[in-house]
Symmetry: C2
Subunit: 274 residues, 2 copies
């Protein structure tokens, strides 16, 4: 089954919606092109009407005929058969930004949650931007302080929607100076690879590999190579010492093997720039 | 001679001047305590009177009896004997913030430049904050874009004052999201270690080792371990791909060997926190 899983399109926020729309076009292409059936999930935002209308405009502009929004403001709505049928018919599901905890607390364990996982298993493409990106993994960053060195307690984590294991995602990465908080997150469990995704930049995950698209870069923070960490001895707000972290900066066209924890340089598809 | 060189106190900007003043007190201690003779060099700033008066207040509050400022707004002034005599009598010289190019263009090659190097060789402590930190090394970052992924041309470099070799310094590091620009700098010559120094944080360099003091951390970016870089093929503003960069995050109390390019964990002097 897992060989037929749908791709994940994990976007670092602020993706272009007015110009070339590289990332959103790629999502549409993966979901079937103009024949795609797209559901825009506005669960994360408190402005579902505005945000939903904006994405409907964009996807229609790209040429998708069948776009609908799905909002949930109470868990009951996520247990309705009609909601599940919309997911079952979709070829692509797009999660907007907002607050990642709204997604997990409103959808987690509902019929829609199951329908999303079933859909993904049979090939439906799942995309998410900003909060919709963070929630993709099994453990997610809920919130944290930017523009700081790594410190204990500056990053608040919670279970995510579990569409992918073994990574922790941060978004708006370079733009909001989030190296410190991503390091604080992965230091807690260095098996997790940290993916810091810049704005208007995305990773397309297929099985255990991803490729980068968009304007910025993806910073892969691999704390598996740590030679020293003082995390065990510290209290809240104490400064972390981390020695021997491995860092890869991957712009558009570069690929990475999550299983081997290294870039796939032999399979470079583009110049690395668009 | 080089065994008797003075320490360098390289500060990431915005050091505490009102509270414990950990960093400025340590500079004073290294320069001889209350018997120190300190020259505050305001060459970098266009507000030498205000900035100079501020530091005179601070150093007097710490208990230093002999503090004077030295400003240069034209190169002629840096060739006067009186200027050199002030440096010759000092036990510590402190460079304020401002613009690092003012320091190198106003002092480079003058009698004061020679006097500073001679003084450093015979044990005088040199300190600098912000612009005064950047200029310490042989190659310095003049300016660059923050909050971005590494790109070609986003960082402008120039010769520094050459008090230390083999490193490139960036300041206000976590606070201004400068990982991208420091990576862009060291990628050009991966032999250089990148030192990203946070605000109210400093490295104390003695010979080929340094120790961290202050509130934040120092990020050591070692591109010597690069397994791949696309730098050769790119044009201005193209995104850099960098694979296999090594990263160390070192808060207060941690030491690093510049010669061995690794932390000295066996010589940890404090808990790593203050």
């Amino acid at each position: 089954m897992s060989e037929q899983r749908g791709a994940l399109v994990i976007i670092g926020g602020a993706e272009d919606k007015r110009g070339n729309m590289t990332i959103l076009r790629e999502f549409v292409r993966l979901a079937g092109g103009t024949h795609a059936r797209i559901v825009v999930m506005t669960v994360a935002t408190e402005l579902p009407l505005e945000v939903g209308a904006d994405y409907i405009d964009v996807f229609e502009k790209i040429g998708v005929e069948d776009v609908r929004t799905f909002d949930v403001s109470a868990r009951e709505a996520a247990d309705r058969d009609s909601a599940c049928r919309a997911i079952e018919k979709a070829t692509g599901v797009f999660f907007t930004g907002g607050e990642q905890l709204r997604i997990t607390t409103l959808l987690g364990g509902t019929q829609v949650d199951s329908a999303l996982h079933t859909a993904h298993e049979r090939g439906v493409v799942l995309a998410g931007t900003s909060a919709g990106a963070s929630m993709m993994s099994s453990t997610m960053i809920v919130e944290g302080v930017g523009d700081t060195n790594p410190r204990v307690g500056i990053v608040h984590m919670a279970p995510g929607m579990e569409f992918i294991d073994g990574i922790v995602i941060d978004q708006h990465f370079a733009q909001r100076g989030r190296l410190g908080r991503l390091l604080s997150a992965v230091a807690q469990y260095p098996h997790h690879l940290g993916l810091g995704i810049d704005e208007d930049t995305a990773v397309i995950v297929r099985n255990t590999e991803f490729e980068v698209i968009g304007r910025g870069a993806v910073s892969v923070v691999d704390a598996g190579s740590l030679t020293f960490s003082n995390l065990g001895d510290l209290q809240n707000n104490d400064a972390l010492a981390l020695c021997g972290v491995k860092l890869h900066i991957l712009p558009a066209g570069y690929q990475f093997s999550l299983r081997e924890r290294k870039p796939n340089l032999e399979r470079l598809t583009r110049s690395g720039n668009e």
